[in-house]
Symmetry: C2
Subunit: 359 residues, 2 copies
């Protein structure tokens, strides 16, 4: 492994779409969603431990989750956890990680990844990541991993590339966030579009240069935290971050910069962003019921997805088809699978009625 | 109130039909099923406290539930709780109570009632009970309170009387336990049939004489526990009871004795024996959902009955109609209302798969 390569796992998100299975104090990345014995964060860590040196892996998260991270990743010392006090979306988060790593190695190359995605073909992924890092080492660029779409998914972002073919690295032509069904189908049929995995590769110098150009407020705030040799004083960061604009790295940089490339890959990827995708990925019984956590006895019941907050909880179903049954400590949700987009509404109305007790 | 009148509340039953709302360690009589702020046992106690002197009320139960009784009825001292070590159905239970009360007052009249029934018209009930006690004081008889049927219920026992009319006391012609739908309808239409409420009135002398005649084994076992003056030594009872035949007072005595009468009454009675009857009796929201315990937000959902083991648990329903949703600590049941007769099967299969963990 190259000594100048670093990984940042972003593990600070809240996942209200999976409420109440995921709660504000226990978001998706810390759960073993697929029943494999490792949380999504742990699986992500394992994946990158074969790509960069283990002690080059940083975890970016919210301070609320530091204990989760330390418990799940005992190999990661506290100083490699970048804990934010407030949520400012991904651009300030990436900026901090880039400045922090640049302090350690001004020539560093970094790969940034969400903590809560699934990769089925780890070896293909590893090869793509290494290829991407080789590329940015030679070409001052901002690279994103694109995934060959397998369906007209409306929940993903799409990246258009000219003359796309798997394995190649191409300049990005356009970004389109969450197209409607018809447009998504056109994208897939055209062969020119890849899903935006949200996994980015760049040299710290390149991303800091892009922040300077496209997010000057964030740039100047972080510049107040570094000394003349470029070394960051992390103790100054919180105050500056709390004043940073709330903006994603996609909107703030990737959709605006001119040196953005995509590595067109195919490694069995999912962001596990919906109950539908989770159901799709989960093991199912003979009646196509997926029991993620807990025990279940299903009578005249098919195609349900069942989660509990406790492996010992027993769920008895009679006469249900195509439902989400998610039992948490103090919340039970029973919702038709094809209505899962309403869960955000349920969360909001619950918040309005009861405050944060159930969130 | 007459000094020789006593009440025995039978509070030892297990109610597997309401599983998992009711559990082996928390049966129906100890729950506030109707959300009135008093458990069924407490409501029953309140009802009889206006019929017999308070310190003449005895609670018959299983030793497993003694703490429940003492907690819910702090006025009842331990010595008025008759706690069985084993379940032998109602005949041995009634025998013990009769012998015990006879020791206190050989001339006693007793009224025996299940702890878990509902009476809506308390004053009519009180009048019926007093009338019944006056009757058995004059006529050596075994009296049951009959309830004018309002529907062709198949879960109740029916008592046929000749020339029945409300308010009268008549000899019983026949008993029929749980007729099928057609027969139940014939019974109701005939006007000759009343529901057997399971509430009995007799002098202790009369019931002990009947036990001697119809259940001689139980009689002779209890006779070994009394001294020459007829005083019972309760410490000897457990051993004898554990050898008694398991038999109900209905089958052992009422269906065989020749001096059985019924008081034909109508006081808004239910044994709350099914989820259907509980739903029927419960308060409902605008969409006819009944939330017995817990909080609920119902979207596109109608005619469900929801219980939790915790007033703070929140249940979110989307797209459910005519279901039972019963969440207990470690069991969640979701079952169509019209399939509730299968709950016994679910309980048995759960016991076979997991032992008593969930029962």
């Amino acid at each position: 492994m190259e000594d100048n390569r670093y990984c940042v796992i972003m593990a600070g998100g809240v996942s209200s779409r999976f409420w109440p299975f995921c709660r504000a104090d226990r978001p998706k990345q810390f759960l073993d969603l697929l029943g494999i014995g490792r949380s999504l964060l742990q699986s992500t860590y394992d994946r990158f431990a074969s790509i960069v040196p283990k002690d080059h892996i940083f975890i970016s998260t919210h301070e609320q989750y530091v204990n989760w991270v330390m418990e799940q990743l005992p190999d990661v010392p506290r100083e490699r956890i970048l804990a934010e006090e407030q949520r400012r979306n991904t651009a300030p988060c990436v900026a901090w990680a880039a400045y922090h790593i640049r302090s350690i190695d001004p020539n560093a190359t970094m790969i940034v990844t969400p903590a809560d995605h699934l990769v089925l073909q780890e070896e293909l992924f590893r090869k793509a990541a290494l290829k991407g890092m080789d590329f940015v080492d030679e070409t001052p660029s901002l690279l994103t991993l694109g995934v060959k779409p397998t369906r007209a998914e409306t929940e993903y972002g799409y990246i258009q590339v000219e003359g796309a073919s798997k394995g190649t690295i191409q300049p990005v032509k356009t970004f389109t966030e969450k197209p409607n069904r018809e447009l998504a189908q056109v994208f897939v049929d055209s062969g020119e579009f890849f899903w935006n995995s949200g996994i980015f590769i760049w040299k710290v110098q390149s991303i800091i240069a892009a922040i300077r150009t496209y997010l000057p407020e964030i740039y100047s705030r972080f510049e107040t935290c570094v000394d003349s040799s470029g070394h960051i004083d992390d103790s100054l960061v919180h105050k500056q971050m709390s004043a940073c604009p709330i903006i994603s790295i996609d909107i703030g940089i990737m959709e605006r910069a001119t040196n953005v490339y995509v590595l067109c890959a195919d490694f069995g990827w999912s962001d596990i962003g919906t109950w539908g995708s989770l159901y799709h990925l989960s093991q199912k019984d003979a009646n196509e019921n997926a029991v993620l956590c807990g025990r279940a006895s299903c009578y005249d019941s098919r195609k349900n997805i069942i989660t509990t907050s406790n492996n010992k909880k027993l769920v008895i179903l009679d006469g249900l088809e195509d439902y989400i049954i998610s039992d948490s400590e103090n919340v039970l949700l029973i919702c038709r699978k094809d209505e899962e987009q309403r869960i955000r509404q349920f969360v909001n109305e619950t918040k309005n009625r009861f405050g944060n007790e159930y969130i």
